[in-house]
């Protein structure tokens, strides 16, 4: 499983820019960023190099950051790739809290999945013929 950095953001002008600037100044490179927003706040989810250091830097700069364990699954960059993975989890009764994808550039996509029941989920993912990625494949 990999460490995702989750940052709580107020819906204020410039907060996302400040977040990215903070990581940039610390020399931390981001691989994926997704922002979920509601009427009053947003939650940024980030896959970046040295997540523990990123977490420490952000909290030190006054951001509300936490580390969350998520699955990174390699999926072929073809139609229906993600659907097959999610169907397998659904069939096993495993609830997906949220998911997002990014292309790795080598002909496949990386799906990030936040689920409960980690061990069971991993078994289901592997049994469905997918590969769970290791941290070193994604970040330094």
């Amino acid at each position: 499983m990999i460490d995702q950095i989750t940052v709580f953001l107020e819906n204020d002008k410039g907060r996302l820019a400040a977040l990215c600037r903070t990581l940039g100044d610390a020399g931390i490179s981001m691989h994926a960023l997704t922002v979920a927003d509601t009427a009053s706040f947003g939650v940024a989810r980030i896959i970046a190099d040295t997540p523990r250091e990123a977490y420490a830097v952000l909290n030190e700069k006054g951001f509300r950051a936490s580390l969350t364990k998520v699955f990174a699954v390699e999926v072929s960059d073809d139609a229906g790739g993600l659907a097959a993975l999610l169907e397998a989890l659904d069939a096993a009764g495993i609830n997906v809290e949220y998911a997002y994808c990014f292309a790795s550039g080598a002909g496949h996509a990386v799906d990030i999945l936040r689920v409960d029941a980690h061990e069971e989920a991993e078994a289901v993912i592997i049994a469905a013929g997918f590969r769970v990625m290791e941290p070193r494949e994604l970040y330094a």
Binding site: F8, S40, F41, V43, G62, R64
Partner: protein, 452 residues
Amino acid sequence: MADSTGRVLGPEKYFQPDIEMMDRGELEALQLVRLQSTVTHCYESIPFYRRAFDEKGIKPSDVTSLADLQKLPFTLKQDLRDAYPFDLFAYPVDDARVQRLHASSGTTGNATVVGYTQKDIENWGDTFARTIAMVGGDEHSLLQVSYGYGLFTGGLGAHEGGIRMRATILPMSSGNTRRQVQMMRDFGVDILACTPSYALLIADTAIEMGFNPAEDFKISGAICGAEPCSEGMRREIEAKLGVKVVDIYGLSEVMGPGVSCECRHQNGLHVAEDHFIMEILDPNTLQPVPEGEYGEVAFTTLTKECSPLIRYRTRDISRILPGACACGRTLRRMDRIQGRTDDMLIIRGVNVFPSQFQEVLASFSEVTSYYQIVLTSKGPLDRMTLKVETVPDFDFDEIRKIEDLQRRISAELRSNLQVSVEVKVVEPKSIERSEGKARRVIDNRDNKGGER
């Protein structure tokens, strides 16, 4: 009989059972006789009151029922300041009947000075002695008074209570905490009277000194007033010292500690209604609020000789707790002080106090004690947003957990305060920290809720 913490309680003790459990009808008859005599006394002896009565066209003889209290003029804190030092005394200060002077700190203007006759001091002591009984004390008890002695009414008020109870008094005053602990232990103190923060310091010092006061000390009760004490703080003192902690309320202007005091059931403070009439007034209309609703507390003294007061507006906010108390006393109970009228907000016509938000938030372990209320106008309507910060280990990765928290706090506020509040979780440390009084309310409304 056991209390909420499972501690076994002995039989209820009373200092003046004939008064404390007096039939309400008899008590009201007594109040009326005393009110009439106080009004006459004020009119005849204090020019300020004579003027105020004359302006309203009222004579002491017009007071023929307790309801007539409504016709009488108010006394304000500023009136007391303006009377500095002795203009509100019924006797000249060199009169032999004037036995003692106390004064409030006067941080925001002139000090307010209050005089006491021998009888005033005895009555004061009686009200405090009732508290000693409420927390289980009697004439055999050893009472450690660790309120400051001096112009402040805490120390000497508790001291007079000990005298009237005929308890043994250990007049420590405050300070030299290790010595307080040593004597508490060596002498076998039964009851401690001091501020809640000092009680906690004494408890912590005892523990630091290697004692386990909860187990090893004889002490069984503490009377802790003069400053606000949260329920958490009360439980902490109780656990560390192994005592029952009761609250006591009083203002030096009105008398000092003992105006109302809590019994061991810890559910409101019994007002010494034989010495004071308490009114709860709507701060805007100055009319009495229905029983059970919050408003400004006003007192009329019924027995004070040197510094009587008529309808003194305390600016403290409380309410009457309806219903009978399990202790058997018929003296009505006032709730803890919720705040000051100066802090009161009027939201869509509902009176709300910041401390009420604090109380509701304290029941949510997910948020810190920092909060801020922001008021804005939405057309003709007031809109209230409450900003809160989550505790560091709150898991905000799942958005619905944050939304759910916001919803639950909002629902709780609605059911407790009858106001609709938008709750907003904000980033850590984005709510202003202050060493002094935190700015809890930002009022950006076009109309700040009407005249106050």
